[in-house]
């Protein structure tokens, strides 16, 4: 046997090596060189904190006592991991997007950032984990005792206690050094994780080495060992189906809910892809860890003297065969198992305690707000360090109290059943939007109470906490309330009994209260984000428009994140908003982002509380909630709004373009009008001036000539007057200044009047009328209307180019009004000109021949518009055709 001092030296060397590894890893990570530190292999190995000293030593003891049952502790996690696509993936995604720092943070954050829940979960976690830490201390101490001077002579209790204290203190120092170096838990503890990965390799190699030595060195090969198993006292040891199923379930729950597992699985996760590797690599690790357990147990039972502690076979078997090196390796393996578990558990618990108990209390005490002076980071870190010390101290005290005598497996299972109480709140939280805070608190409290009553307190033994009478006969002699036989179910195994009742009460309370209660807006917001984490990639709005001062927020963020990081965060946010400097606008998005960053350091509930202290209210408005509550509807609404908006924009643009075109056109028209009008005025003026000059010169001019010239001057001035009259008429009409003299008139009279007025012009134009159809009485301005008719008739006279010109006047009564068509038998108006004939000064043929200024139809159009009707060119009638329409309101049947 190797001397005890040498063993201690090796142990210290090993610890120094771990320190070195952790230190180097931290340094590499800080320098950004952490390539292999972030590999799936490290992640998978770090998950091995599941395999504690309970696995390393205890599994063999468990197998020696209960046969195959030990394997259920590894089957449950295997199922959870190969089923990673169901829950683990979602859990890790939620952990990353919400910057979750612990399982208490996850549950508190899911249920509306409720700190009450955070406290409940933290307390249960501490109570559930303390025995487990005690177990690790015990196993390390026992393994030291094996090597103690004197060999077979057991250590005195005092020695055991002092070594347990030393181990606890050493672990506290290591954890504080590497676990509280940085505050942001999401920056991850590279040093610790790497050291744990090294320990994972050591314990696997050690157990495999012992196993190989036992099978091939002692057992004589695989077949021989299998034969030994068949003939051993373990062979045929029956399986209890209840315990088998129950323990598989319990271990599956524990892998999700153990605080230390949550820490390495979710919080320390670097990349979701690592989970894909771990999904098979971690079950493989578990399988290798349990592969040689039965052979070691069987060989140990056969080889070791009766009464030897089967929990220590891993250590004592090699020692008994003089394999000092192997025994030392096994010792280091066990030491690694225990220390890695304690370190991670202490980090996880201290994070929970500082974020959910110390920080809220601190915030309450300094009610003036987080902006007051003092570095919050220091306080958080100090809280964590004290918590780590406290957790280890609790473990040590439990070890002292429980006397360190129980079988290892029992404590482990009690702890598992305790933390399994998180399962309904956890799974319900990520899978069911209807789960509420009240439900979660009820379920957790009920489950925890039943667990404590039926399993935890009785585990201290008769007379420990519960008296023998209480255990045997129930409180006040009420038999059906006996801790280990609720409702008379004494036939069950105590563990299965406790599990069924605690989980039953938990689930029942959780579901019933969830269904009956109504969640507050924050809960519903968080529920949507957690349950639909794969859909809601964008963070939901937790803040309505803030009224906070950016400077106050920066002040607070600096205290928690440190000046550099906080300033960087604010600067980036400002840059994203297109601003310069360090103070972004306080938008809801920014508040959300800031809160999430803070949550990575102090947990969601505390971060929320701190931000709301400054912003002044922690409200989610109903509008915000409605927006998030139905993302699909919102997206659809949004996109349809966008569509409508863009359509509206397009419409406006089109209208603008049209208006612009019209304006341009009008301006061109105005120019054309001006030049036209000056031209039209100038032509008669020129001839008037010329002939008046001739007349003035006057000599040698005959009276005939003089009369002729005067006549021309007279005609030209008449033309000028007519033109000016028309222009005046048009401008009066266009400006709407005309006063209409509406009266009842008979249409035939109007047509008669028009024909009579144009009789001098008609010449050879034959008029065709249908007097029967014309018998319509109208309520309109007869003078104006006949002006239109006169214009049309004279046009027909002027422009109809048929050899026997003919004008047909048709009157048609329609549903909407009366239409009067003037159709001649000429060649009509070419299609391209039809659009411009109603414009001013538009004349299709030579204007001399027409003798007008081209204002007639323009005036007609204006008159008809005033009368509420219209005049249009009617194509396809075999000649020029115009339709004058009058609305029904002004047309009445005669």
């Amino acid at each position: 046997m190797i001397p005890f001092d040498v063993l201690v030296a090796i142990c210290l060397l090993y610890v120094a090596l771990l320190f070195g590894v952790a230190f180097l890893a931290e340094r590499r990570a800080a320098m950004g060189l952490g390539g292999w530190l972030r590999s799936p292999a490290i992640y998978t190995l770090s998950l091995s904190v599941y395999c504690t000293a309970w696995t390393f030593y205890g599994a063999v003891g468990y197998a020696a006592r209960s046969g195959l049952e030990f394997v259920t502790i590894y089957l449950g996690p295997t199922l959870v991991f190969i089923g990673w696509w169901w829950t683990l993936r979602k859990l890790v995604r939620i952990g990353r997007t919400q910057r979750i720092t612990s399982i208490a943070d996850l549950i508190s954050s899911r249920y509306g950032k409720s700190n009450a829940l955070g406290v409940v979960v933290t307390l249960i976690a501490v109570v559930g984990t303390t025995p487990y830490i005690a177990l690790q201390l015990q196993s390390v101490t026992l393994s030291f005792a094996v090597f103690a001077p004197g060999g077979a002579v057991p250590w005195a209790i005092r020695d055991l206690n002092s070594s347990a204290l030393t181990v606890a203190a050493g672990l506290a120092v290591f954890t504080i050094l590497f676990g509280t170096r940085n505050l942001d838990a999401n920056e991850r503890h590279h040093g610790v994780v790497t050291a744990i990965a090294v320990e994972a390799v050591v314990k696997l190699v050690a157990l495999l080495a012992v196993g190989i030595f036992v099978v091939w060195g002692i057992g004589g090969g695989v077949t021989a060992t299998l034969d030994r198993i068949e003939t051993s006292p373990l062979a045929g040891m029956p399986i209890q189906p209840g315990r088998w199923i129950g323990l598989t379930f319990l271990s599956a729950a524990a892998i999700l809910t153990l605080p230390r597992m949550f820490q390495v699985l979710v919080v320390e996760n670097e990349d979701e892809r690592h989970l894909a590797t771990a999904s098979w690599a971690f079950p493989a690790y578990l399988m290798l860890m349990s592969l040689f357990v039965v052979p070691i147990a069987v060989v140990g039972l056969a080889e070791m003297p009766p009464g030897a502690n089967p929990d220590l076979f891993v250590l004592t078997l090699p020692l008994a065969h003089g394999q000092d090196g192997l025994a030392t390796l096994a010792f280091l393996g066990g030491f690694s198992s225990a220390t890695s578990m304690v370190i991670v558990a202490a980090i996880a618990l201290s994070t929970m305690v500082s974020n959910h108990i110390v920080m809220p209390v601190f915030l309450k005490l300094t009610a003036t707000g987080a902006t007051m002076s003092g570095d919050v980071r220091k306080i958080v870190l100090r809280a964590r360090r004290v918590s780590i010390g406290g957790v280890l101290l609790l473990g040590y005290l439990y070890y002292r109290l429980s006397g360190g005598s129980e079988a290892l497996a029992a404590i482990g299972l009690i702890s598992f059943a305790g933390v399994a109480q998180f399962l309904p709140a956890l799974l319900g939280g990520i899978l069911w939007r209807g789960a509420t805070r009240a439900g979660a608190i009820t379920g957790l409290t009920l489950g925890f109470a039943v667990w404590a009553y039926t399993l935890f307190l009785p585990s201290f033994g008769q007379g420990g906490v519960m008296g023998a009478a209480l255990l045997a006969e129930g409180p006040w002699g009420i038999g059906w309330l006996r801790p280990q036989g609720l409702f008379g179910m004494d036939g069950l195994d105590p563990l299965v009994h406790a599990m069924v009742f605690s989980m039953g009460a938990n689930v029942l309370g959780f579901v019933t209260v969830s269904l009956a209660s109504f969640p507050n807006p924050m809960e519903r917001l968080q529920a949507a984000q957690f349950v639909n984490v794969f859909d809601h990639s964008a963070p939901g709005q937790g803040w309505s428009q803030g009224r906070a001062e950016a400077e106050d927020l920066l002040l607070m963020a600096q205290r928690i994140l440190g000046p550099d990081e906080a300033q960087g965060l604010f600067q980036r946010a400002a840059a994203d908003q297109g601003k310069q400097g360090f103070l972004p606008d306080i938008t809801p998005e920014f508040l959300q982002r800031l809160e999430r960053e803070l949550a990575g350091s102090v947990g969601a509930a505390t971060a929320h509380a701190m931000v709301s202290q400054i912003v002044g209210r922690s409200a989610v408005s109903v509008e915000d909630l409605m927006k998030v509550a139905d993302e699909t509807a919102q997206m659809m609404e949004y996109s349809s709004q966008l569509e409508a908006k863009s359509e509206e924009l397009a419409r406006t643009a089109r209208q603008l373009r049209e208006a612009n075109e019209k304006l341009t056109e009008l301006s061109v028209q105005k120019d054309a009008f001006l030049s036209q009008i000056s031209h039209e005025l100038r032509t008669p003026m020129t001839s008037i001036r010329a002939f008046s000059e001739i007349l003035m010169a006057g000599d040698g001019m005959g009276p005939g000539e003089m009369r002729n010239y005067s006549r021309i001057i007279h005609e030209e001035s008449l033309r000028l007057t007519r033109l000016l009259d028309d222009l005046l008429d048009l401008s009066v009409l266009e400006n709407g200044q005309v006063s209409l003299n509406a009266q009842e008139v008979a249409l035939p009279d109007l047509i008669d009047r028009a024909l009579a007025a144009t009789v001098g012009l008609q010449g050879g134009l034959a008029i065709r009328r249908d007097p029967a159809a014309e018998r319509v009485r109208l309520m309109t301005d007869g003078d104006r209307l006949s002006q239109v008719f006169i214009n049309l008739i004279s046009n027909a006279h002027k422009y109809c180019d048929a050899s026997a010109p003919e004008l047909t006047i048709r009157v048609r009564e329609g549903r909407d009004g009366v239409a009067v068509d003037f159709v001649d038998n000429g060649s009509g108006i070419p299609e391209k000109s039809q659009a411009i004939i109603f414009e001013k000064f538009s004349r299709l043929s030579d204007h001399r021949k027409a003798g007008g200024a081209g204002l007639g139809l323009a005036i007609c159009r204006e008159i008809m518009a005033r009368l509420g009707g219209s005049i249009v060119y009617l194509p396809g009638q075999g000649g020029a055709a115009f339709r004058v329409s009058l609305p029904r309101a002004r047309a009445q049947a005669a």
Binding site: L68, L75, R93, L226, I239, I245, R273, A276, S279, A284
Partner: protein
């Protein structure tokens, strides 16, 4: 969730079926692991050990193949973070 088309291209279809297999695997595992409880009377024996570890190893192998194919098919692509290959 966006309005996904009702039918997927071959690649997308494969990916969905791979995910289905990943979901189904733990149920298969559960059935395999509960077998010993059905045969409780016989208890621990060498064949039972061989069966249990054989089933375990088989599950791990299938899970490893599935995980690799899921990663390669891009089913994890909705996750951020750097690319990483298994060891």
């Amino acid at each position: 969730m966006g309005r996904a088309p009702p039918f997927l291209a071959r690649e997308g279809y494969r990916r969905r079926r791979l995910a289905d297999m990943a979901r189904l695997l733990p149920l298969v595992g559960l059935a395999l692991f509960l077998m010993p409880a059905l045969d409780a009377r016989d208890g621990l024996s060498a064949p039972m050990l061989i069966y249990l570890f054989g089933a375990w190893a088989g599950l791990i192998t299938v899970s490893a193949i599935l995980a690799r194919r899921l990663c390669r098919s891009g089913a994890m692509d909705d996750s951020d973070g750097p690319q990483a290959e298994g060891p």
